[in-house]
């Protein structure tokens, strides 16, 4: 029997885990001689206190939604896609090619075109390890990690030797034409009378990311394909019995996963930088793993976790800017969050289960 009510499972466990991570973080801040209360205030103010802060928080969250969803769908097929970083880099290349070489009449068409190319590039980058896993048994964790390095090297080569404008010393593409610049939240919200910071990078990609969360939820829980992916993820022997092809599921799950990671590029490359630079992904591919873990691979969970991590990113940047707390401490806090919500899940779950048993026992 399930011993805990669903609300406790979904809300209480992660909440307590987060609280524990926060307490431990506070102790660390105390230990380096800073005031944790002031630090929290600064983070909240910086990330959520203004539309400028929100704009950055949501911008980061958009990245993390794409990569978090990418890791989640692979998780459902029990595949650990650590290659989100590389797939997102390749997605950036797709976006750059779409924006630089196709004369788009309007940004909306450009967005669609860039999404297709970014998704396709990311998908291909994920499909190779998937094929090697399904056909040759090469472990997908190893191959996807290796493909991150290959992607970085490839991007380096392409930027330096092929896409760099003549005379430029910067390993980056030329600026994308004006026509493909995506509307920011400021542009979107102004017509309905909400004033939003002009400087913040959050853009229309956020809406695409939220839409992707919903569509992925439909795919996983409401379609035959999702049913087969989850079945294969839970038990490959049972999937074999039912006639679900491991090759097909591995390929499809990884192609969707890579496609989502690649599509992140519409946010950071097309929406923010408006050109392709080296290291445009800034580790978002790896944060996606934490987001998926914390979100329990559920699209709604990923949505919430992405915003939390967006807050941590933006708040952390503010901390580094205004205090002597080093930027690295944010990595410590993120690590604590991952540790408590992912790895130490049972530490919170078990005592809670016992508590609920005791409570139920008294009632019975």
């Amino acid at each position: 029997m399930d011993v805990m009510p669903k609300w406790a499972e979904v809300v209480l466990v992660p909440l307590i885990s987060l609280l524990l991570a926060a307490i431990l973080s506070a102790l660390v801040i105390l230990a380096i001689g800073e005031d944790p209360v002031a630090a929290v205030k600064l983070m909240v103010d910086g990330a959520l206190g203004s539309t400028y802060g929100w704009g950055y928080t949501l911008y980061y969250a958009t990245n993390f939604m794409f990569t978090g969803l990418a890791v989640s769908i692979a998780f459902h097929a029990r595949l650990f896609n650590i290659g989100g970083e590389g797939q997102a880099m390749l997605g950036g290349l797709g976006v750059a090619l779409a924006c630089l070489y196709i004369p788009w009449p309007h940004w909306s068409l450009a967005l669609l075109g860039a999404m297709v190319l970014a998704g396709a590039f990311g998908a291909i980058w994920a499909a190779i390890p998937a094929y090697l896993q399904a056909k040759r048994g090469s472990h997908i964790v190893i191959t996807t990690i290796m493909f991150n390095f290959i992607a970085a090297a490839l991007l380096n080569y392409v930027l330096v030797n092929l896409l760099r404008p003549k005379g430029s010393m910067d390993p980056a593409t030329a600026r994308f034409p004006e026509a493909v610049n995506l509307p920011t939240l400021h542009d979107i919200l102004a017509p309905i009378g909400i004033s939003f910071s002009k400087a913040a990078p959050a853009n229309v990609s956020l809406i695409v990311a939220v839409l992707a969360c919903f569509l992925l939820w439909v795919l996983i829980w409401r379609t035959q394909l999702g049913y087969e992916i989850r079945a294969y993820g839970h038990s490959d022997s049972a999937a074999k019995y039912a006639g679900i092809s491991p090759l097909k599921i591995t390929m499809i799950a990884m192609i969707i996963s890579g496609g989502l990671a690649g599509m992140m590029a519409i946010n950071n490359v097309m929406g923010e930088a408006e050109r392709l630079v080296l290291n445009s992904t800034e580790g978002a591919g790896f944060i996606g793993i934490a987001v998926a873990l914390m979100g329990r691979s559920h699209p709604l969970g990923v949505f919430i976790a992405a915003i939390l991590f967006g807050f941590l990113y933006q708040g952390g940047a503010e901390l580094a800017l205004w205090t002597t707390i080093p930027r690295e401490l944010i990595v410590v806090i993120q690590a604590l969050v991952i540790l408590f919500t992912g790895a130490l899940d049972n530490m919170v779950r078990m005592p809670l289960e016992r508590l609920f048993i005791a409570l139920n026992g008294k009632k019975a």
Partner: protein, 516 residues
């Protein structure tokens, strides 16, 4: 207390005594306040359904788990058993269901493994060889000390396990489901050995779910149900029916009621079927078998003689060669159309041997499992999406017809008991009205109460004129259900028998590869 015909004085302290042992795994109370006392020189049986807590209790005794509460007394002295080393030094030896032997070591090397003395292997071996000879004489446990484990049969391997325990001076032997992998003659031999050990004053605890073994060899028997010890009785004063009732908590029918079969057309026709496994070993070596409409053909055999491979290739998830026809048309044995989906389209339903690994997704709710394998059924779809409401409705109906308890379609498969899990699989497969039903180990790990129901369903399907191929390692089940019995040994069919004209002895010889 004189429970036994042993030579020991009645006032002797019990060889082993447990007082109020409790153990919980998270929310599951595996053992609840269990007390037993076993006199030296007796065989004590512990019987109970799967999940009753027998294995947990023995794991506590052998130091694998720590009890939450309770005390253990060995020969009257309170003893702590924090690990298996402590158990061994307290004189407890364990023979596991799955042997812990090094395949490419000799018998002798396996026996001293972990009990070597000194730095030189040759002195240990010499010493062990001598005591092995003594042990063999004392207990009539003859064995070639230099034979490699991989070259000797399972019966002999089990003997090595017993010798390992005796070499470590065990006075108390625990055997966990020891006959699961043995042929009937091997089992008889094991019981003779156990009898001999009892004569020599050893104490034996036999864990089993087979009533017949309890009746044949034990002096006293304890019955476990849902983590509790429900009764301890003298074997001579009880009956199988009574024990079954104690195990289940109600009266059970131990026989299967069925009329004589009326076989019709050939449904399944297997000709020269061969299967080679991943390691290149030929597991099926030319099987020829027919199953007609309206009959149950039972495949008997010791586990591992090709029965699983037969089900796998017929179920579409192992490749084979040869010809297999269903209703006169051959089915693909390799390639794209040799999978579970294609088999179902040809009217073949399959209740696999291992429902937890194959037949069910344990994390899926009952309704998702009812659709499993049939999830492309058009009635389960609305456009691009799955019609979950329709599946749930279908599940409620099927659960009601198969008396699945609790009748909650949203409960995950892992939260049902073994018997109810099996009913979910049966409901899914039988309700599809197949021409041919493949069914493996239909009642393995299933409580006695559910066995009755499952057998009735299988017979009912036969009476509707369907062909049924039954694989089971339980000979009693094969004899009770089948209209024709084929015995498999080493990838061959040794012969077919009529269950009313044969007996366990004859089948046992065939199972051991002896022509009769």
């Amino acid at each position: 207390m004189t429970l036994t015909p042993s030579a020991h004085a009645p006032e002797t302290a019990p060889a082993i005594e447990l007082k109020g042992i409790s153990k919980a795994f998270g929310p599951v109370q595996a053992n609840k306040d269990i007390s037993i006392s076993v006199m030296p020189g007796t065989i004590h049986g512990i019987i109970g359904e799967n999940g009753a807590g027998k294995s947990t209790l023995m794991s506590i005794l052998y130091g694998f788990y720590k009890a939450d509460k309770g005390e253990i007394f060995i020969s009257g002295t309170k003893t702590e058993i924090p690990d298996s080393q402590a158990a061994i030094s307290a004189g407890i030896g364990m023979v596991f269901q799955h042997f812990k032997l090094v395949e490419n070591f000799s018998v002798l090397e396996n026996i001293i493994l972990g009990a070597e003395d000194g730095w030189s292997l040759s002195t240990s071996l010499r010493k062990a060889r001598k005591s092995l000879v003594d042990l063999a004489q004392e207990y009539e446990l003859n064995i070639d000390p230099d034979a490699l484990i991989e070259d000797i049969g399972v019966g002999m391997q089990q003997r090595v396990e017993i010798l390992k325990a005796l070499y470590r001076q065990a006075d108390i032997l625990i055997l966990d489901e020891p006959t699961g992998v043995l042929t009937p003659p091997e089992a008889d031999q094991l019981f003779r050995i156990l009898g001999r050990l009892r004569e020599e004053g050893k104490t034996i605890i036999l864990i089993t779910h087979k009533l017949r073994e309890i009746m044949d060899i034990t002096d006293t028997v304890s019955v476990m149900r849902r983590g509790e010890m429900t009764a301890t009785v003298k074997t001579a004063e009880t009956s199988p029916e009574h024990l079954a009732e104690l195990m289940v908590g109600r009266k059970v029918l131990l026989r299967v009621d069925k009329d004589i079969a009326a076989p019709g057309e050939i449904v399944l026709d297997i000709k020269n079927l061969r299967v080679v496994d991943d390691q290149g070993v030929e597991r099926l070596k030319g099987i020829n078998l027919q199953v007609r409409a309206g009959e149950i053909v039972g495949i008997a055999g010791v586990a591992g003689n090709g029965q699983s491979e037969l089900l796998e290739v017929l179920g579409g998830y192992a490749d084979g060669s040869g010809t297999v026809s269903v209703n006169g048309d051959p089915i693909d044995l390799t390639g794209k159309y040799s999978d579970g989906k294609s088999r179902r389209k040809r009217g073949i339903a399959h209740v696999p041997e291992d429902r937890q690994r194959e037949g069910l997704i344990m994390e899926y709710a009952a309704w998702e499992n009812i659709a499993f394998g049939y999830h492309d059924d058009p009635t389960y779809q609305t456009g691009f999406l799955m019609n979950n409401a329709a599946i749930r409705k279908d599940t409620v109906d099927k659960m009601a017809r198969f008396d699945v308890r609790p009748p909650d379609p949203k409960l995950a498969a892992k939260n049902f008991s073994g018997g109810n899990q099996q009913k979910v699989v049966l409901a899914r497969e039988i309700e599809r009205n197949p021409d041919l039903l493949l069914i493996g180990q239909p009642t393995r790990g299933v409580d006695i109460g559910a066995i009755e129901f499952i057998h009735q369903q299988v017979v009912a399907l036969r009476d509707q004129g369907k062909a049924i191929l039954l694989v089971s390692v339980e000979l009693e089940e094969i004899l009770a259900l089948s209209d024709r019995v084929a015995v498999m040994f080493d990838g061959h069919i040794m012969g077919e028998r009529n269950p009313t004209e044969t007996n366990e002895k004859e089948l046992g010889l065939l199972m051991a590869g002896v022509e009769t």
